[in-house]
Structures are given as structure tokens and as C-alpha cells.
Point group: C2
């Protein structure tokens, strides 16, 4: 007889931001209330508890990143060129560092995966999907003759993803554009050569 008033996606994106900024443990319900505009009771009603909110935020993150990823390849340019754009975007995120720009997945992974196997699985699946998507792009690059036919696309995808993880961690200590761009350049070179 009455509908919820809040916009679920907006709430989840606000929660994401809060979790990325302070980490899961240090983000209090107070913080989440401020970030989402939802009172504790509403959060508990909609998401069961703080952990439930994180799980929902992780799922929204996955959807948002999937959309973002696909947009980078939604044109007729060579797939490798788009891949480089995608990588440049990661670097740009690292530089703009509110430090809230860290990847929610890796942040959550290092903080809580050890303690909570369900969250561990959700995050791992999430990252595996990205890896799979990358592998498909490399396959396409093979079809386009951008990379040689004897390459192992799954290996390339893993290496590329490893590079992105490393880039993000590196940016914590050296958020200088020039250095990060140089690293990204070499990473791109090493997967496309």
C-alpha cells in the first residue's frame, strides 16, 4: 500500500563510495546513514544488515563495471586500441585519486575475504568474469591479426589483470601521472607484442 521512497541504485552507489573510502570495518552505520540518506532502520529493512548492504553494493559494482567495460568496446575500432583506452582509464582513475577510486573488489578482498568465504566467493566470481571478458577481447584481437595466433589468450587476460591490480596498488604510493602512464604503456606493450 506504500512504496519505498529511496532509489536503490543511488543508495548502493553511495554505500560503495563509503566502503571504498574507509573500508568495510571502519565505515559505521552512522557513516552509511550520512552517505545514503537512509536511517538505520531502513537499511536493515532493505538489506538485512551491514554485511547485506556490502553484498548488494558488490553486485551493483559488478553491474556498473560491466556496463562501463562494454562501452569501451562499443565501437568499430581495433579491439587492442580499445583495450589501451580501458587501461588509460584505469590510470586516470588512479590519478584522480580521491583515494576512493581504489577498486572496491580488491579493497574488500584484502580486508575481508579471509574472514568470510561467501564474500570471498562473490568477489572472486566478479573478478573471474572480468578476466573472462578480457580473454574474449584478446581472442578477438587474434581474429583481427593484432596479436599472433599462438598466444594463450587466457594467460594474456590474467597478466593484464595482474598488471591492473599492481598499478592500483602502486598508485597508493606513487600517484604521479607520468610514472603510472609509463607503467601502463609497458603493460600494454607486453600483452600486445
Amino acid at each position: 500500500m506504500r512504496n519505498a521512497e529511496f532509489d536503490r541504485e543511488k543508495v548502493l552507489r553511495a554505500a560503495m563510495k563509503a566502503f571504498m573510502h574507509k573500508g568495510y570495518a571502519k565505515t559505521s552505520m552512522q557513516d552509511l546513514k550520512k552517505a545514503t540518506g537512509l536511517h538505520p532502520g531502513s537499511i536493515y529493512c532493505a538489506f538485512e544488515n551491514k554485511r547485506g548492504l556490502l553484498l548488494a553494493a558488490l553486485e551493483q559494482y559488478r553491474l556498473d563495471r560491466k556496463t562501463e567495460f562494454e562501452q569501451f568496446f562499443a565501437n568499430s575500432t581495433l579491439v587492442l586500441v580499445n583495450l589501451k583506452s580501458y587501461l588509460d582509464n584505469v590510470v586516470a582513475e588512479c590519478i584522480s585519486c580521491d583515494s576512493a577510486q581504489a577498486c572496491l573488489l580488491t579493497k574488500a578482498l584484502s580486508e575481508i575475504a579471509d574472514q568470510d568465504s561467501e564474500i570471498q566467493r562473490v568477489i572472486s566470481d566478479n573478478l573471474s568474469m572480468l578476466q573472462q571478458a578480457l580473454a574474449e577481447k584478446f581472442e578477438q584481437a587474434k581474429v583481427e591479426k593484432s596479436i599472433s595466433a599462438d598466444k594463450d589468450c587466457h594467460h594474456l587476460a590474467r597478466y593484464f589483470l595482474m598488471g591492473i591490480y599492481g598499478l592500483r596498488t602502486f598508485a597508493y604510493t606513487h600517484p604521479e601521472a607520468k610514472v603510472l602512464e609509463q607503467l601502463a604503456e609497458q603493460l600494454y606493450h607486453d600483452v600486445s607484442q
Copy 2:
């Protein structure tokens, strides 16, 4: 008129392990008491507070890793060969994953650096020293004619370190020996070619 009874290094290594395992926030004084064998009062007397214990543990970690690093190069083999051994050791650590084997530095970095600029600085300095040490090894490899003279050794060191960060994060989701070894192999190839 009376000396402290505990072994400072042992206590710090126990604290390290605890912090690596659960993260800083989730490691309670209770946990630290269990891990170190020290009662709260003694911890506060020796290290001021929980944060002081982390800082002390970070310093001990730096010393331990420095020693470990130097041992890998304490022979007359070609420096690049030793570098590969060092990398293989990182992989081995990742595989043996108690999941307490994550690097204390990157774990602490992602958890608390944003919130505490002193700890941020300590960790950054710590990682910069490793980067510097790696750069010197690449310089030596140049002297040994293992790599070409026109390489930028600092860039190689940064790229190598980035790879190690990435490898460690990757291992959270894929702790399979074969995959990690393959990634390490390519990383080594890309910095030594």
C-alpha cells in the same frame, strides 16, 4: 632494576602475523594478547597503544624483509638469476597461503593509509626502499651485460614491483601454483628482455 621479560622481536613478529591475518581493525587487543603472550598493560607500556604496536611491527617487517632480500643476492651468481629466485619465492609464499602470507605493507596500505598519513608515509618509504634496492640490482645486471645499457633501471624496478603487487592480489582469487608461476615467468621475461 628489572628488565622486561619478553623478546621484542618475537613479540613484533607475532603481532605482524596477527595483523596480516585479520587486518588492523579486526585484530583486537584480545587477539594480540593471545598472539604475543603479552597482557594489555605490557603492550601499552612498551608500544604506547595498538597503533604504536603496528608501527613497531612495520619497522620490524622492514628489517626482516631487508635481510631476506639481501640473502637472495649474497652469492656470486648473475644478479638476474637471483632476481628470479626472489620472484619465485614470492610466488611460493602466495601459494603456501595461510593467507597470512600477504604482504603486511600492501595489506596495511589498503586498509589504513587513507586514514593515517604517518602510517601512509612509513609504508611508502618502506616500499620505496625496496624499489630502490631493486633498481640497484638492475643497474648491476647492466654491468653484467644481462640487460641492454639503454634500459631505465628505475622503470624496470617499478614495473617489477608492480608485478609483485599484482601477483599477490591475483593469488587471493587464484592460488594455483601453475598459473602464478606462469605469470611470474612472464614478468621476469618482460623485465629481463
